[in-house]
Symmetry: C2
Subunit: 526 residues, 2 copies
């Protein structure tokens, strides 16, 4: 299929017409990334700031400086590029999330995650779409076609899983992290499907056939994307086990892992599946099998190299969003009607708050019905945190909004410009307010004694993934963080049996003892 394409044509890198300027901006960008890491570290001691907020602020400040230094002439400081985001920045973040996720927690909460991520996103989508349709009409700022309101619903139902990773800590609040982050990943897929469905479907007459078609479409997308990720992950495990096992080819092992993970994402995108879901499950499978088939040095390197790539991508995105917020062009169009802009932003923000409340509390109630142990139920205070932590909208929303309301980053229509600027305002507000208040909120709502100081726990946490390296244990062994319910225990038991009997002999994985004489070389190093 790939080779049949008549236009296999790679155009990467900076456009040659803007050579010198590109080197300028690249240098500036790299410098700003360094600054974000340094200031993020320095400000981390205060329990309020997250690195993403630091990056947003640095981006905004830089944007202002550039605007002032160019005398406001440079109408385009930085063009938000969807492809840069979806092809280069998002994959490492989601892959790393899958690679580092606590698998047991994730699968134990699977029902709740799917409830939030699919049904919840749909509820949120409907509330935002229909709410904005009604309110915009009432306020006489009815600027758009019917389809645009539904697109708006999809844009604002995309929770930003990247932000979630920043405010919730997997080791401090594993249960919440797994719920909110898991929801974010499933929700990303839902939003993209919704968004594409809306672009294609005739919305003027919604029929039951349409709805079934949509549900079928979603199930197909969810299952095939997951299957593809699992398949590529398993293939990588098998390949590395056969080719390199015990050969100490650390660089090649890591290179293969990175390339295969990226391949899974690109292949999914090529087949119009959800690359996000695919690469997430590829990460899970790789950490369950492939990671155990490589040398100890590869294990340490892969853990940290993937986390580093993800960190750089995250900071890059927030810096990008911060700088892009100041794009003069769209503000110029929107500034003719400041009250309209204010109105739309306020409406969207309220609808996002409302839309999320409308599904978190009812769906948590439903999820709790399936949980027998009292300890395991999602308490009301936890529900509040889930509601709050998932409010942040980020780069996915911006990317979708640009896709819908601009033509390759530019717009001349006032209605579209207002939608873009409202999106940016909501993203900035939810990120800054959310970023600043989530940590205090968690301390307030949940047990305060567990969270002494975030900077201390941070230092502890970042190396915590590593004790499991030497004795071959897996993240799965953290069973004591909550009492699993019986049914999940049974499922896990059967999975274990299946894994041990059929999967591990083929794909390696934990406990697969390296049978290599060269392993003595490693032992003498320590």
């Amino acid at each position: 299929m790939i080779l049949n394409s008549t236009s296999v044509y790679v155009r990467m890198g900076l456009s040659s017409s803007a050579d010198a300027a590109s080197v300028d901006s690249m240098t500036l960008f790299v410098l700003l990334l360094c600054a974000c890491i340094i200031f993020g570290h320095l400000l981390q001691k205060s329990k309020w700031m997250t690195e993403s907020v630091v990056a947003l602020i640095i981006g905004l400040v830089t944007g202002i400086i550039i605007l002032v230094s160019t005398g406001g002439k440079s109408s385009r400081v930085l063009v938000f590029n969807e492809e840069l985001f979806f092809i280069y920045l998002l994959p490492p973040i989601i892959f790393n999330a899958g690679f580092q996720v606590k698998k047991k927690q994730f699968f134990r909460n699977f029902l709740a995650i799917v409830l939030y991520g699919v049904i919840g996103s749909l509820i949120s989508f409907l509330i935002v779409s229909l709410g904005s349709l009604q309110l915009f009409k009432k306020l006489d700022i009815d600027l758009m076609a019917l389809g645009d309101y539904f697109a708006l619903g999809a844009v604002f139902s995309a929770t930003d899983s990247v932000c979630t990773l920043q405010v919730l800590n997997q080791d401090e609040t594993p249960h919440l992290y797994s719920l909110v982050f898991g929801e974010g990943v499933v929700n990303d897929a839902t939003s993209v499907v919704l968004f594409n469905a809306i672009q294609k479907f005739d919305l003027s007459h919604i029929t039951p056939t349409n709805i079934f078609q949509f549900i079928g479409n979603f199930l197909y997308l969810f299952l095939t994307s997951t299957f593809l990720g699992v398949a590529v992950g398993l293939f990588s495990a098998y390949l590395i086990k056969k080719l390199y096992f015990g050969r100490h080819s650390t660089d090649r092992e890591i290179a293969l892992m990175i390339l295969m993970a990226y391949f899974s994402y690109m292949l999914a995108e090529l087949l119009d599946l959800s690359g996000i879901l695919t690469v997430f499950f590829c990460g899970i499978v790789m950490s369950h099998y492939t990671w155990h088939n490589v040398t100890e040095n590869s294990r340490i390197t892969s853990r940290h190299a993937f986390a580093t790539l993800s960190l750089i991508s995250e900071i890059f995105i927030f810096l990008y969003v911060g700088m892009d917020a100041l794009d003069i062009e769209k503000w110029r169009f929107a500034s003719n009607s400041p009250w309209t802009l204010f109105g739309t932003s306020a409406i969207m923000l309220s609808l996002v708050l409302l839309g999320r409340a409308a599904f978190v509390f009812p769906l948590s109630f439903i999820a709790n019905l399936f949980r027998k142990s009292r300890n395991d139920k999602i308490a009301f205070k936890q529900q509040v945190v889930i509601w709050w932590a998932g409010l942040m909208r980020g780069a996915v929303s911006i990317a979708l909004a640009y896709n819908k309301f601009t033509t390759s980053g530019h717009t001349q229509l006032q209605g579209n410009a207002i939608m873009i600027t409202s999106t940016i305002i909501v993203v900035l507000l939810t990120n800054v307010v959310g970023g600043l208040l989530t940590k205090p909120l968690i301390r307030l709502m949940l047990d305060p004694h567990k969270h002494v100081g975030s900077s201390m726990t941070y230092d502890f946490v970042s190396e915590k993934t590593l004790p499991l390296l030497s004795n071959g244990e897996d993240s799965e062994s953290n069973i004591d963080t909550g009492n699993p319910i019986d049914s999940s225990k049974v499922v896990h038991h059967y999975w274990r049996m299946f894994d041990d009997t059929f999967m591990r002999p083929v794909f390696g994985g934990r406990g697969f003892v390296p049978l290599i004489p060269a392993s003595t070389t490693e032992d003498t190093q320590h």
Copy 2:
């Protein structure tokens, strides 16, 4: 300076007009990269193949398949993009080379390296330029202006340090590796300066002033580039020592190292210096100071992560060159005159062979005059290996040729098309022949007992960098690989004193004992 630029404008990623096609080619490319690593590994057991040759061949085969499958319609399979090469692919390779280079060997051979890299490149440049001028006239294929011949000389005097890394092994032949690779780095800088000087200078009347100007220009470039690299490297060491020392923030440490190294390269390019020299010295300083200030996990991760990035970039380049070789457009122009093409290619190849012989043997003689110990002199057999191993022309030559003879990858002039195709032929020939014959040549010319089997030594070698991690020793401790001459011993002694007294207290480095209570956490892991 950066902020004053009126057009700070980032355009990265794939052009939006070619979205689907780009995803196609990206997916294909990632798949091919995987294939190169896998086949490279499988073929490594044969002592003839190097990974670069495998990548070249896979690239060629893929190009043929695409051509056939599109029925020869797709005239542009892949556009060679200078920026992709110089901004994204080259920096990690050169940085990694500096980071992993055996510093003692490099500095001990510094005189010979500068002789080869500067004087040698100039000799080679003059021979290729004047030789092609004479021979092309005799063969009646005089297609170009005077300046083009000199540009050709610069193009073909650019030794490919990437290829050198592939055929020579730092641990098998450290002395030769350091000479040929060191020459490659200095030579890269010389070629780029030469190339730029030729574009600017009036070549019709070369005056002594011009020549002095050129020498001054080169010295300025060499010294400022080196200084910039050292400065950024030292700053990174200081920063990480102050900020993170003992904090177990592995991901942030690695991210900062990567970003600062990249920053040094971009800044050098922005200031019209040699980014290659800068990032090489930045790598050396980072491995001498910064690397010792980070946690043990960061050390393992950085060694392997940088090597992995470099590996992927290298394979990418060769795959790229292999695929680009089949670009129909230029072959169409060149195929009207197959004999001319054959003639030019043969002439260029002979001149490259001759130009290299003309400086390796005389300059080795001069370098030997300064070496007292008989063991330390460059033997004739070694000179032959140096001559042969540096013959390969690679992506730098192609990038310079494209820069000179095309307008953003396209050309309509027959003379230019012939120059591009000749360059590609020379690059392919030197790489395939060089890649296949260098290892046997080394076995033939040098002590055969030392090199039992390359695949065995390879496995041993790839982990060999790591025993020095645990006990804090440095690559510098391999003193027994050759008898250092007295003067270098004295220089090294004073450098050591200076380093211990002034540098290490500020910038950290080897032996700077971590004073952290948290270090016990690390100990328990092993």
